[in-house]
């Protein structure tokens, strides 16, 4: 339940998001919380952190990283990978999106529902599928985002993506136990991990004329995707598919320029 919310276009620099569901927090400025998130609107990984912060009703300052450049703060906070998102809490940086989500769940354990499942076996299952999603399932789809044209490689990548979604459809049935989300009644760890990719999936569908989110093949996931995208903690963060298609064009152009220079 949201009591106070300042919304701004996420593409404007240095937005302050006050997003709180506890009366005590409504008067706290983002600065008091000393919570900053380095990110950008197009990154699914940044979205993960923002969904988690929304679920906990925690205010933070979004520091926008411009695509193609890396700020001093980013280089200082994540010297190993130089990548977003980075959460900076009281000056201490936390890197890697799912590590950030766990950190948020642990620090703000008392605020809002648990993001990770409470049962250790269910936690292990969620963590397993997240490794699968990031290491095996998404990489072929990322290739499709930057591919110059439709070819054998993109066709194979689409097939792999669809096969992966089939596995995740079965996983959904087991994890959700008949409820709305992988996490049960509310958006949880595995929902965030997979759901952050949905806008990009739709962009890939548009760019390559493929059907990935196919109601015939993965009815449970298609239903889940609709519910996820319309969840309070998520809907303001979902980028427009057409804007992602434009962004992908820019990424491809940049990669081509780098390849030929």
């Amino acid at each position: 339940m949201l009591t106070s919310k300042a919304t701004s276009d996420p593409r404007l620099p240095s937005n302050i998001f006050l997003h709180s569901n506890f009366r005590e927090n409504t008067e706290r400025m983002a600065g008091d919380l000393e919570l900053k998130l380095l990110g950008s609107w197009a990154s699914p990984f940044v979205m993960r952190a923002r969904i988690a912060l929304n679920l906990k009703g925690v205010g933070y300052e979004l520091l926008k990283e411009v695509s193609g450049t890396k700020s001093e703060l980013l280089l200082k906070s994540n010297p190993v990978y130089k990548k977003i998102p980075v959460l900076i809490h009281h000056g201490k940086p936390i890197c890697e999106s799912m590590i950030i989500v766990q950190y948020i769940d642990e620090v703000w354990a008392a605020a809002g529902p648990s993001i990770l499942p409470s049962d250790p076996y269910e936690r292990a299952i969620a963590r397993f599928w997240i490794v699968y999603i990031d290491d095996k399932w998404f990489p072929p789809l990322r290739k499709m985002i930057v591919a110059k044209a439709d070819n054998e490689e993109t066709a194979e990548a689409a097939e792999q993506g669809i096969a992966g979604l089939q596995l995740l459809e079965e996983a959904f049935e087991k994890c959700s136990k008949g409820k709305d989300f992988f996490g049960g009644e509310s958006v949880g760890y595995l929902d965030i991990a997979l759901g952050c990719y949905l806008a990009w999936l739709k962009a890939v569908e548009k760019m390559h004329g493929v059907k990935l989110l196919d109601k015939e093949k993965i009815p449970l996931l298609v239903g889940w995707a609709e519910r996820f995208c319309s969840a309070d903690a998520v809907k303001e963060l979902m980028p427009e598919v057409d804007e992602l298609v434009e962004f992908a064009k820019m990424l491809r152009a940049r990669l081509n320029a780098a390849a030929t220079s």
Binding site: V80, C95, I99, Q102, R123, A124, R127
Partner: protein
């Protein structure tokens, strides 16, 4: 060699794996730290048992922990599971503080990003690729050397007073690192460059929980020679290497 022990009373705990795999060693160490009895189910090289295929259908890789019939896959996920299920038993594997946990998880992910491919190359037959692998390994170890003081806060291990999550994540590779040093003459853990890690490695390997499951460098060298002989006899079989089947 790893000896399986009787399962803890009332609980079935089974570890499916192979002694040469650092990922399996991780789980063995964690179970030892918690003082847990378990049955070790040895996976033959080049074959995948019915149990493995049934327990890990997605990757068909070791280790798999089977607890009361339920399979848990991926070594670092297994570690967190062990720490959570047996939270009141033995010492905590993960740090207590959320920030320390985030740092430990970050470095564990970094280690698995850099070490398996470097080590695989260094014990393999592709000589040309070894210089780059050596450099990647050296850079990774330097970063971890620099990270040690912050994590350990002046104590003996990344986890503080006792072995923890990050110690296990890195330490499991020490058998292979020593084997590679012997086989190639490379000095991976160098007193001159990474003195803190050298001291840490000695302490890590001498712990009871580790000694029991860590393979000896000489055993691993014999194992490598065996694999290389097989690969030389059948040159088309590229994927016979240990860690391609392990996570």
């Amino acid at each position: 060699m790893i000896l399986g022990r009787m399962a803890a009373a009332g609980e079935e705990v089974k570890l499916v794996g192979r002694w040469a795999s650092p990922f399996v060693v991780r789980v063995g160490i964690a179970l030892n730290l918690k003082g847990l009895g378990y049955e070790f189910s040895h996976e033959e090289r080049g074959k995948k048992s019915e149990l493995l295929l049934k327990s890990n259908p997605v990757y068909e890789m070791i280790p798999v922990l089977i607890h009361d019939g339920k399979p848990i896959c991926e070594s670092m996920i297994i570690l967190e599971y062990i720490d959570e299920v047996w939270a009141s038993v033995g010492r905590s594997i993960l740090p207590a503080d959320p920030y320390d946990r985030a740092i430990a998880r970050f470095w564990a992910a970094y280690i698995d990003d850099k070490f398996p491919s470097s080590l695989r190359t260094l014990r393999g037959l592709n000589e040309e690729a070894k210089a780059e692998a050596e450099e990647q390994l050296a850079n990774a170890l330097q970063l971890l050397e620099d990270a040690f003081p912050k994590c350990s806060k002046g104590k003996d291990f990344f986890g503080g007073e006792t072995i923890g999550y990050l110690d296990i994540a890195l330490g499991c590779y020490l058998g292979w690192i020593k084997a590679i040093e012997k086989m190639t003459g490379i000095k991976a853990l160098d007193e001159a460059k990474t003195p803190t890690l050298v001291g840490w490695a000695e302490r890590f390997c001498s712990g009871d929980a580790v000694k029991e499951v860590m393979p000896e460098a000489d055993e691993l060298i014999e194992f490598t020679k065996l694999i290389q002989a097989i690969m030389n006899a059948a040159p088309g079989r590229q994927n016979m290497h240990v860690s391609k089947n392990d996570r």
